[in-house]
């Protein structure tokens, strides 16, 4: 009995010391923060503590005095048996190192932030930030070979992204894991703070409410605060999807799409082109995904926006001089380039007049360039990711070619307007590589034996007779073989999916994903056993670095290895966002 008591005491001591390290302070340790950009501070204690025992200091001074804001003590957080401190809307004008110490009895936690200023003068007037969601090295290589061809080991042509001047490797990990998603990755680019998977513009706190998490400023908010620049967003996904949302939104949960659409409206970007009209329609309209009666299209029209719903209307709207353009071309995500331009599959029968990324980028630049103060345009090729998840590599690569054409449009603009910084990057990578070719001419019926590796791979025989930069067809007899290094159980058909995007696996009655039998009878199909947990529906993001490329003023700041959040600082410094540029 005595022995047991001794052990219990020892355990209690251990537990207490562990508790002491469990306090969390947001912003997290090593956060980098733009001067005068507003952010919320939150301290989460591990248990319920008494207000009298709590102290929060910044560089040794009480937080209220140091930050000039109210310090709010919450004895019991909603749904959490623990106390917290919140200091909302903090802004720090003076660059420097700030050490925050939070104490409550035995609990103590310390973090250090770096608050940075920017040069007094902007180096560039405009920024064009082009992002292909999920862009991995294999997508680039495949796009180059498919679009330009290769002879005797040398590329027959170069992509637009092949001639950008500077580059950096970007680390994409989230605050909670080495792995990552499009919410936290794009949020890091667009705010300078890393956060958790699914979160946008907030640190992920422990309460259930997705809209109460501690916020930090987004690029668009900083532009509105400090400059008179215009803002444009162009995407082939829903405008409320994680990547475009990261410019505007503050939510723990990227699925809050109706709320995100309201957050976009609150910042009124001058150019908005993409999908997701369902979140603009009031709930009474069939097809709406709102849960209120607000007609967002009408709100924008009342605010003076020219409105387009088809490629033709977009072309017509390009002649307008409003400088404000809303183009919605799909209730959901736009179809892939392969479906839109060539196969007419997916939802192209329902939405036959969707513009592509190139037309949208041109229209956006036409409007944004009207602002003498300059602009920031973000262009997203969403389907590179949306087709890499279901292992539909042909669609992902053809969308990469389209993305590269949008890069070409940006480079043309920058040639005439050299005060433009161009950034070309992905937000995270996928587990995919090109390992050779598939050659239908090889003998037999066994498709696996038609895979050419090493010298047997030869060169693919894609043809681009009309010179549009796209292969005339993807189902040529000797084609690139891209292989995923992860995925659910699925049938490998060794062929492009000409009938519509690939659905590799579907869920069974035990909530486990099993191979989709729709592909079982494709001649030569082989069952590939999955290697991720069986509740995973598709291939997953890779943890590999992203390759970022850039050109133009400010691009010299990109080099070596950088955290994704460091990219924001480059944009902030290049545009001098530490300095008020409006009267």
């Amino acid at each position: 009995m005595r022995g047991l008591l001794a052990i219990l005491t020892a355990t209690t001591v251990l537990a207490t010391s562990m508790t002491a390290s469990a306090t969390t302070i947001f912003p997290l340790d090593r956060a980098t923060i733009l001067t005068s950009s507003p952010f919320d501070v939150k301290v989460e204690f591990d248990g319920v503590v008494s207000a009298d025992d709590v102290s929060v200091t910044v560089n040794g001074k009480p937080a209220a005095e140091a930050l000039g804001k109210d310090v709010r003590f919450i004895e019991r957080e909603d749904g959490v048996e623990a106390s917290a401190v919140r200091i909302d809307g903090v802004l720090i004008a003076e660059p420097g190192t700030y050490t925050v110490v939070a104490k409550a009895g035995a609990e103590e936690k310390s973090v250090t932030w770096e608050v940075y200023g920017t040069p007094e003068t902007a180096q560039a007037k405009n920024v064009i930030f082009l992002i292909a969601d999920g862009l991995s090295v294999a997508h680039r290589t495949a796009a180059r070979i498919m679009s330009k061809g290769m002879t005797e080991g040398k590329a027959n042509g170069r992509l637009n992204m092949d001639d950008l001047d500077r580059m950096a490797f970007i680390g994409t990990s989230s605050t909670e894991a080495v792995a990552t998603d499009s919410a936290n990755t794009m949020s890091a680019y667009m705010t300078g703070h890393k956060t958790a998977v699914n979160a946008l513009g907030v640190y992920a706190d422990r309460t259930k409410d997705s809209l109460d998490d501690p916020k930090f400023e987004t690029l668009v908010e900083a532009l509105r605060r400090q400059t008179g620049k215009s803002v444009g967003i162009v995407t082939t996904s829903e405008l409320q999807d994680a990547t475009p949302a990261a410019l505007f939104a503050h939510t723990r949960r990227r699925a809050d799409k109706a709320e995100i659409n309201t957050m976009i409206y609150d910042l009124k970007p001058e150019v908005i082109l993409g999908g997701g009209s369902a979140y603009f329609l009031p709930q009474a309209t069939p097809g709406s995904k709102r849960k209120d009666d607000i007609d967002h299209i009408k709100l924008y029209q009342d605010a003076g926006y020219t409105f387009a719903t088809t490629a033709g209307e977009l072309a017509a709207a390009s002649g307008s001089n409003t400088g404000k353009l809303l183009g919605l071309f799909h209730t959901g995500n736009l179809d892939t380039t392969l479906d839109r331009e060539f196969l007419k599959k997916g939802t192209v029968d329902k939405f036959p007049e969707q513009p592509g990324l190139v037309a949208m980028t041109e229209a956006a630049l036409g409007q944004l360039a009207k602002n003498a103060e300059g602009f920031v345009l973000v262009v997203e090729a969403a389907n590179v990711d949306k087709m890499s998840h279901p292992l539909d590599w042909d669609r992902a690569v053809v969308d990469t070619i389209e993305f590269d054409k949008a890069v070409g449009v940006a480079r043309e603009f920058a040639e005439k307007n050299p005060d433009t910084l161009i950034v070309v990057t992905g937000d995270h990578t996928h587990g995919v590589s090109i390992i050779g070719t598939v050659d239908d001419e090889k003998e037999g019926m066994d498709m696996r034996e038609k895979v050419g590796t090493y010298a047997d791979a030869g060169f693919p025989n894609y043809v681009d007779e009309n010179g549009d930069g796209y292969p005339d067809r993807v189902d040529v007899s000797r084609r690139l073989f891209l292989a995923a290094n992860n995925g659910p159980d699925h049938y490998e058909t060794f062929r492009p999916k000409l009938d519509g995007p690939f659905v590799p696996a579907i869920q069974d009655e035990n909530k486990k994903y099993i191979a989709n039998e729709a592909y079982k009878d494709v001649p030569g199909a082989v069952l590939v056993e999955g290697n991720i947990p069986r509740d995973g529906d598709t291939g997953v993001h890779a943890v590999d670095d992203v390759v970022l490329q850039a050109t133009g003023p400010g691009s010299e700041r990109f080099k070596g290895y950088m955290e994704q959040s460091d990219v924001y600082r480059v944009i902030a410094e290049t545009l001098a966002l530490g300095v008020k540029q409006t009267q």
């Binding site: 097809g287 209730t331 939802t347 579907i506 994903y513 529906d537």
Partner: protein, 152 residues
């Protein structure tokens, strides 16, 4: 793959048969078949309009073929019927991520989940118009209620 509907004569015959069996199965009435590509008259950026056929069949017994998306539990009294097998689970993600052309099926009694790889036929009464499920918050435009299903 999916039958586009009975001829008038066939429908009358079936209806007669149903009327005859009404005393034995009071909940069963003749079902008109409807296919996924017959649900909407117009699909556009500005919203959807229901097809004339859907409006004509509002409140009527219908039969529809498709794939069963996985329900929350193996024994469930409602699920989503889709045109092609879906990799999405409606209750893991929000209804936000679903395509427009789905039908929500409310069963008259819980039935065991059918393999997602197989086509099923659902029979029940067609409900038209936006409705939010009070239990799950799932919003649907079209529903088949009081339904049952069988593998095809």
């Amino acid at each position: 793959m999916i039958s586009t509907g009975f001829s008038r004569r066939q429908a009358l015959t079936v209806m007669g048969g149903a009327a005859l069996s009404l005393t034995l199965h009071p909940t069963r009435a003749a079902a008109q078949t409807i296919a996924f590509d017959e649900l909407y008259g117009k699909i556009s950026v500005l919203g959807l309009t229901f097809s004339d056929k859907v409006l004509a069949l509002k409140g009527e017994r219908v039969a529809m073929r498709g794939f069963m998306a996985p329900p929350l539990k193996a024994e469930a009294d409602f699920f989503v019927l889709t045109e092609i097998p879906m990799a999405l689970c409606p209750f893991c993600s929000s209804d936000a991520d679903w395509p427009d052309d789905i039908i929500v099926v409310y069963l008259d009694r819980a039935q065991t989940f059918e393999q997602a790889n197989g086509i099923i036929e659902v029979s029940g009464t067609l409900e038209v118009g936006s409705w939010t499920d009070p239990e799950t918050g799932f919003v649907s435009l079209l529903r088949i209620v009081g339904a049952n299903f069988s593998a095809v």
